[in-house]
Amino acid sequence: MNDQLVAKIKANPNYQELVEKRSSIAVKLAIFVLVLFYAFILTIAFEPSLLGIRTGDGVMTIAFPIAAAIIIISFLTTLVYVKKANGEFEELIEKVREDVKDEL
């Protein structure tokens, strides 16, 4: 890729929209998952007994549903991202490709 093409793609509004939207959602989702996971890890590190709080009269503690929730949320965030990336972002990439296809 030569300097001219690099400059041209960088100036392309579709490309700018792609980079902006993608990094925005990727960073937000990544931070969300990281905060969730480290809240979990820090609880284990400093107050493990918090996770031992029982959900009812039985032996069940909140630790199990929390672990399950983190696993399920992790999956759902990947689903959200991929729906967006494979739809909207791929379309933007196609538009950029259309604009520069003679020089690629």
């Binding site: 284990i44 590190a45 999956f75 991929v82 490709r97």
Partner: protein, 549 residues
Amino acid sequence: MFRVLALLSIFAVALFAAGDATFEASKSELNIAAIIMFFIFVGGTLGITYWAAKKTKSASDFYTAGGGISGFQNGMAIAGDYMSAASFLGISGLVYLSGYDGLIYAVGFLVGWPVILFLLAEKLRNLGKFTFTDIAAYRLGQKEIRTLAAFGSLAVVTLYLIAQMVGSGKLIQVLFGLEYEYAVLLVGVMMIIYVTFGGMLATTWVQIIKAILLLSGVSFMGFMVLSHFGFSFEALATKAVETHEKGQAIMEPGGFISDPISAISLGLALMLGTAGLPHVLMRFFTVGNAKEARKSVVYATGFIGYFYLVIAVIGLGAIVFLNSPEGQAYFVDGKLFGGNNMAAIHLSHIVGGNIFLGFISAVAFATILAVVAGLTLAGASAISHDLYASVINPNATEEQEIRVSKIAVIIIGIIGVVLGIAFEQQNIAFMVGLAFAIAASANFPILFLSIYWRKLTTRGAFLGGIVGLATAVILVVVGPIVWVDILGNKEALFPYKHPALFSVTAAFVAIWFFSVTDKSQRAKDEEKAFEAQNIRAETGFGAAGAVDH
């Protein structure tokens, strides 16, 4: 090739015949079903290898199955690489032993996935060709970066391989009564055949089939366990608390993650280590484009997540059933036969009888073989693609490169067998932990910064990578496990078992420092090359596709 197969089967039959006697001596019933299942699986996978061998011609076929794997298939294969024996036997064994603590590992292993997807997966696919080192070397000095990253890969692969070899040896020893040394040798020979003949195509398909079998197997086991408790997880947990000697304590974290620093450090290693495992990263190059790469992560996360949820049920089920009167048959001298890692295997016998035990045993064995094959291929690519074809002999033809790969596979196989026998008494979890720590400290920072930081220079990546690798290794050596448990010293020089918090930080700081102080012309050129790299990472323009090679 047929001659090799014939020899191998004779060899295997002879070994089993030899093994039966000792097995009968140690345990009364002979696991005929397991042996039959085992041979069906071995026969089937060798058939796949034969088919794959005919289709594998170019270097791309060998390393990446020609890039023709679909997102769903690749997701299955990634899940397969992930649901290794350490996950299946290790985590269920951990839950059996101490309850909730085992699940912390499961959560940590899984949470790495979304982060890989958001920050790395598609960019890896767009920038790389065969190995993750391709990305780091994209705009930096080929020689330095490839050499360093190849050694990082080999370090991770070797440690992981030893852990799997030891695990497989123990598993086969318990299941078939085969001598440990022969068991390890058998795994080594099978793996060399899969990889040298079938390359990534065979490795991927063996992995996919194993993932399907494993998911069906654990689903059945989870179903059977829950069916005893009216499908109430609460009822299962109540019974587990009643029977476990630690009682209610198994329902919350405790035990082996004792201090805050260790917990944080372990969490970091689990998550970032995932993003630095060469055999997993390599899978992003087997799909045609970034779109399929993303899909594969969704499928993989779904399968792995489901698997870990079922593992929680299986672990608690093992507590209940193995501590019951009928479970006493699985104990020898007060210890679980074959060790705590065998909890899931024994449980399969209780809930599903001999045939199901045979099925789960064969699947567990297949799991080890498939993961070992993937690891070996990743190690061989580091040698042939990163060291040989890019550093030692840049004019190498594709045939030469493939030949070097195959020789590397055989050498890695032999090393795996030798070290697997030498490290028989070694703690598997420790080896895996070390592999993750090195992956997180040496591979991840370079990979991450090469994609996101325009000011990264060759000098920074090279020196920082060495600092990360060295810090991880040194802290483990002077830490409690090696310094005290293995070398027999009184007190550890470094008090924590998990070095990642310190070694990852050291790597990032060193990479930053050596990059920003680099005022050379090369550093300026590398910064300038970032824009073009970034456009390709974002859009995939000019990326290696399934069609162009």
